[in-house]
Symmetry: C2
DNA sequence: TCTAAACTTGACCATTTTGGTCAGGTATGT
DNA sequence: ACATACCTGACCAAAATGGTCAAGTTTAGA
């Protein structure tokens, strides 16, 4: 089970953004330099964050991105959902009554995987961008 | 974040094994048929489980595998560790003081990822094979 | 003793996912 | 007009995944 870079970068970038967006929009270039994330990759990520209304964009010189919601209302769940970083503990479709590869019944450990998925998602639902800002005040880069 | 088939299969197979090993060793062929897992793949998995002393093997006709410990003492942690299904939320080495790709300092979200890793591992440490047996008594296949 | 069941080992491989890059474009403040 | 910065989509190399295949060795039972 590993967290992909896309998800990790998305959160890193948003924390960075949240710290600096008090006055002016923050350019991806700045985030890229501060956090050491490829600019081109950031653009892909922010395109998705924008579609999911987590950030707003301001074009042109002095443009950049701004948060579209209160940091307290942006949960990790929302961020991960936006960039398609999903928790997946089973292989079959969740909704289906059937099991993996079209079997008639779910596997013997299916309950377990459902529990696990809920356990992880709970963590994501309970963490907001605000929490992360407070949590790292002392380790500012 | 997804759970790989190797980890999922390892647990499925061990639950199956735990149910049937009361009298005789259980052959991988039987597990393969009951759980719908490729025999060749199961062999790779059990090779690792054996190295980690989770199961014992009995060769020859009527041979198979047997649990090497009390189901209560086999935690998901042990199983996943055996088959190299590890939880990895960061990209850099955990022990190192340095950050990703040789940076001087850890990233701004590093605490978060550590928390997440602990959160997930806690789940694995608290679940034993015994729990799974009880939990699924009613959904026996 | 012969044979079949079942473990053992290691190489191999197609497909998918990941983690990007690159090449254009468009909007806008100065 | 021009530099800055967002926007879009194609493209791609490397790694991980989820296996298969081949060639053994061991041992119970006929
Ligand atoms: S994971 Fe698909 S049936 Fe349980
Ligand atoms: S994940 Fe590597 S520095 Fe935080």
């Amino acid at each position: 089970m590993k967290l992909t870079s896309k998800g990790r970068y998305a959160v890193m970038a948003l924390v960075d953004l949240a710290r600096f967006d008090n006055i002016n929009p923050v350019s991806l270039r700045d985030i890229s330099l501060r956090q050491g994330i490829s600019l081109d990759y950031l653009e892909q990520i922010f395109s998705k964050l924008k579609k999911n209304e987590i950030v707003k964009s301001i074009r042109g010189t002095q443009g950049g991105y701004v948060l579209n919601k209160n940091p307290n209302d942006i949960k990790l769940t929302n961020i991960f959902h936006a960039v398609d970083e999903k928790v997946k503990t089973v292989q079959c479709k969740k909704e289906s009554k059937k099991g993996c590869n079209g079997k008639a019944t779910k596997c013997i450990t299916h309950n377990l995987w459902d529990e696990l998925e809920i356990h992880i998602n709970t963590f994501f639902e309970n963490k907001s961008l605000k929490d992360l800002l407070n949590n790292n005040k002392d380790t500012r880069v």
